[in-house]
Every structure is written in C-alpha cells, then in structure tokens.
Symmetry: C2
Subunit: 321 residues, 2 copies
C-alpha cells in the first residue's frame, strides 16, 4: 500500500506529509521547508496520531539542522532550540511529541556536529517507529482469531504513525497477512471523522473488510453485530496505566466491559510517560468549538448554544469487570 | 416561542409543517395538499419525533377526509383507507404513527359522517398531545433541582411533538417556568444531528442554557462536566418496559448507570405498545447508508467501505445498578 508508506517522509531537505484533512476525497502532499509549515500541519491535524507527530517533529528539527549545516555550533543549536520551542506549542496531550523533540535535542546538544546528529537521530526514530509497529502487530495478532470483529476508534493506523502498520490496526494487518479472516468496525469519530475518513480509507486500500458506524451505534454493534474485541491507540499512557486517547475512548471502554468484550490499548513504549503518575495529570486538549459547530461550511449548531469540544482526554483505568 | 407552536398544524385544508431538515439555518414551512406530500415529509424526517408524526398522520387523514366531504360514505372511507395504507409504509419503529392512524380510522369507520369524524378526531389528538406534554412537564419538573445539568439525546422537544413542550424537554421547560436554574446538554446525535440542529435551536429560542456535545463526549461529560440527570424520549415502549429510541440511547443508559446518574424516559401513554411484549419484537429501522456516508454533499466514508445505519433500536431494560 503505497499511501500508508508516505504518512511522513524527509526527502530532499523537505518534510513531506499527506494532508489528512483532505482524505478520503483527495490525496495531497504538503512539502514543508520551514518549521512554521510543520507546526501548522501538526496544529491543524494535517498530520495526527501520537507516533506520526513525534516523527514529524523530529523531521522538522532535522530539516532546520540541515539548513544550518556548516554554521557555527552555537548558531545551529540556537536555531534548533527556537524550532523545538515552536513545535512544543502545537499539541498538549500526545507525549510522543515532547519525547521526540527532547530526544533529537539531547543528541544535538551533546554532539560535535549538532546538525548531522539531529538528522541521524530523526532518521533512527523513523526507522524505529516502523519496526515497533510491526512488532505491535505481531504481538497483537496472537490475540486475534478467525472471525473476529474488531471495533476501533479514531485512526491508529499507518496514517497515525510513520507508516505501514500503525498501532491499533497493526494486529489486524498482521493477522490478515497470516490468513486470519478478521474484519474491522470503525467508529466515525466526531467531530473530525478520522475513523470514517482515515481508518476506513486505510482498510479499503488494504482490502480488509471495514464497516463505518457512528459513536452512538457502538453499544448496538457490541450487542447486535457480534463485536468480539476493541483495539484503540493511545496519545499518552501514565505511569499507573491510565490512558489518554481521542474523546470517546473512555465511554467505549465502559461499554466493552458491560458486554464482556476484551478492550486492548496498542501503543509503543514512547507513548508511556513515566513522569506522569496518573491520568489526572494528563492535560485535556480542548479544541475550537467550530469543529463541532460547522460541517463542510454548514452551521449545524445554532448561534447562542454552547459547545463542548474536549478532543483528547484521559481514560482512568476501570477495574476489569 | 412562536416556532415550537407550529411544528405541525392543520390550516385551510392543508397540513402545514416545519421542514426540520433545514434547521437551524432556515425556518421554512411545507404546505401539503395531498397524502404523498405528508408521507414524504415523514419518510424524509422533515417531521420526526414519535408524537409529531402521529399527529401529522392524523392531520393527513383529516385532509383527505375533508377533500372527500359530501361524497358517498363508501368513497370517503376508501380514500381514507388508501391514505392510511400509504402513511403506514413511512416509518416502522414509532408506534404513535400506527396508533394515530388506527384511532382516526376506527372513528371514521363507525361514524355516520366519516369525513367530519376523521377531522374531529385528528383535532382532538392534536389538543391531547399539547395537554399530555404539559403534564409530562409538570410531573417531570418535580424531579428536577436547581443546578441540574440534564443530558438529552436527539430531539424530544416541541419539534418532536405537536408543539410547545415536547416530551423529554417538557420537564426542563416547566422547571424553568418555576424558576429552577437547570441547563441542558444536547448530544448532537449523528448522523442527522437532531440534537445539535433541533434541541439546541429550541433551547436557544426559549432562552434555556444549552451545550452541544458529540455522542463520544457523553461519558466525559458525565464524569467531568457534572451531568446530574439523563432524560430521553421514546419511539415505542414494549409491554415489559423495554424502550426503543434513537440509536445511541442504549449506550447512554449503560454510561449513566456506570456513573450513578438517574436515567429517565419521558413519553405519553400513546407510546406504550401493549401488543409488543418486549424490545426483541420491536423492529429496528435501518436507514440509508448515505446518511452516514455523505455530509452536506461531501463524501466522508470512502467508497468500498460498509456502513452501519440502524436509526432506531430497542434498548433492553438493564437492571438498576
């Protein structure tokens, strides 16, 4: 699947991204040559998914580093620090972003040639992400059986990572490679419809059967459509296991327990934040009310009404039922 | 509030309806002079809500009856039977529709002047609906306290009934009249957004504070926003109390129980179907996949993906937690 391979790349000194806000209607690439372009892409969710924005931020720093190659060491580092500061202001919830920035900056700060070191580190992170997701897929596929109907939320697939396997969708892809007949149910995931637009798109591209439903249909699907497992990704996992993910994940976990359906979180180690003791300390990302208020230019909430738009929120661990 | 008064009216031999598919952007009335117009309005959800479609169907029959006034008794009855047959094919879940048709037809079949009788019966049902909803409001308001934050789903307000109070929103309106400071949280209710478009519109018109959220945010709102009660309407209530309502209601009930939040169903007696023993026998209304697949002309689900679209489904009673 060519598309998934190219969620984000660093090529010819440019950060090249799929503009995911245009999917599934249009497959357009953005070519960033400055850090503002990269930061805007993260803020506007043109690239989204915790691992993908981590790799994108690392590539952004590599781009700045290479643009300053040959300059004095202090000048390179100052340019990197400014870029890092800008990137840190894009999204508060996903820990991979901060982890990626810190990792590239630490390497640059301690290297003789910070430009070279930053570029190397970003490339290493990209390759690690691909490898990690393949391993998540291998481990997760062991849990899947012929006939499984897997409900997922938002998009934790190739488009949420550097590419190919993704996190929550990796077990599904590997299970299909192994010849298991599994299928996917994708919550459309309001307000931005990443499940309908991105997860379904990925599944169709891969030839994996997928059915889109609205979040309000999830309990119905568990009771009437034979959902056997729920697999979701994570934006941050606290030291105690509390997990922050796209709004709706917590409710889905409660519904899965009610129906006796196993609920899995698939994420790389970089999503675990040992510095955050519990979900209570994970900041909730409230996004602009217009995301709920308008759709494709049409007002769907009347003026004068309030709007709630917590986009990412911690799911406190619930005891197994 | 002038708007709520006119959800549906019978005036100058026409059935006059608000086209609710255009709200909140545009307030346009449809004037039906034939039964096909009335049936299409019900099928296309231009008028929706179990009590409203019951009254609309009754008005449709009254219109046909008056158009045939002065004709032979057999001819009037034949025209009414044909109209009733057409109306019965519009929506399968809401029992009020069948109840209303049966009530008008029974009265017409046994009357000397079936045209006069049908028109009288439809008018009586209209007035009863207004009165019943006022009473639902009075009873329900006793349960509400200063500071209550009431989550509701879809629209069970004036726009779902003949007008003014509605069912699920009636307790809120009466409580506000009594000076209680209560506010409403409205699930947007995908795919057709009746919560965002209609419930929020009604609340803004009435000056009642309302906040719109997506279904995926309901569990978050229960845990973090201090929701104190959930009130929903019903499309049909089986003899054992199982309730069918807009998709999402069942999941909301599970989440309310998890959070220890009282969950109320507000409905008139005409919604109770004693001929249906349990929710298992209530037909599920699956609607067209395009409702989920496209939004305001934009494709949001890729071609090749399946779509689940059960619009109305029974919520089996869950034991109190």
């Amino acid at each position: 699947m060519g598309v998934a391979m190219k969620t984000v790349e660093f090529r010819d000194a440019e950060v090249v991204l799929i503009d995911q806000t245009l999917l599934p209607g249009e497959l357009r690439f953005i070519r960033c040559r400055d850090i503002e372009c990269v930061a805007e892409a993260i803020e506007s969710l043109r690239v989204r998914g915790a691992p993908a924005i981590g790799v994108t931020a690392a590539f952004g720093l590599a781009m700045v580093a290479l643009q300053n190659r040959g300059e004095a060491r202090e000048k390179v580092l100052a340019a990197l620090e400014a870029a890092a500061e800008r990137l840190e202001r894009t999204r508060p919830t996903a820990v991979n972003l901060f982890w990626a920035i810190e990792r590239v900056m630490r390497r640059a700060r301690t290297a003789q040639d910070p430009a070279e070191a930053a570029a190397e580190e970003a490339d290493a992170m990209y390759r690690e992400d691909l490898e990690t997701n393949r391993k998540i897929g291998e481990h997760g596929a062991e849990l899947l059986r012929d006939g499984d109907r897997i409900l997922t939320h938002c998009n934790a697939g190739a488009l949420a990572t550097a590419g190919v396997y993704g996190t929550a969708l990796a077990p599904v892809k590997v299970a299909r490679e192994q010849g298991k007949r599994v299928e996917v149910y994708a919550d459309e995931t309001r307000p931005l419809l990443q499940g309908a637009r991105l997860t379904a798109f990925e599944m169709v591209q891969e030839g994996i059967p997928v059915t889109v439903l609205t979040e309000g249909m999830a309990a119905f699907a568990m009771r009437e459509e034979g959902i056997t497992k729920v697999i979701v990704g994570a934006d941050r996992i606290a030291a105690n296991g509390d997990t922050a993910n796209k709004i709706g994940t917590y409710g889905l976990a409660v519904l899965a327990r009610e129906h006796g359906i196993p609920f899995y979180v698939a994420a790389p180690l970089s999503t675990i934040d040992r510095a955050t003791p519990t979900g209570e300390e994970i900041p909730i990302e409230f996004r602009d009310r217009t995301e709920v208020e308008f759709f494709n230019g049409r007002r769907v909430v009347p003026e004068g009404a309030g709007v709630l738009n917590p986009a990412f929120a911690p799911r406190t661990n619930t005891s197994p039922g």
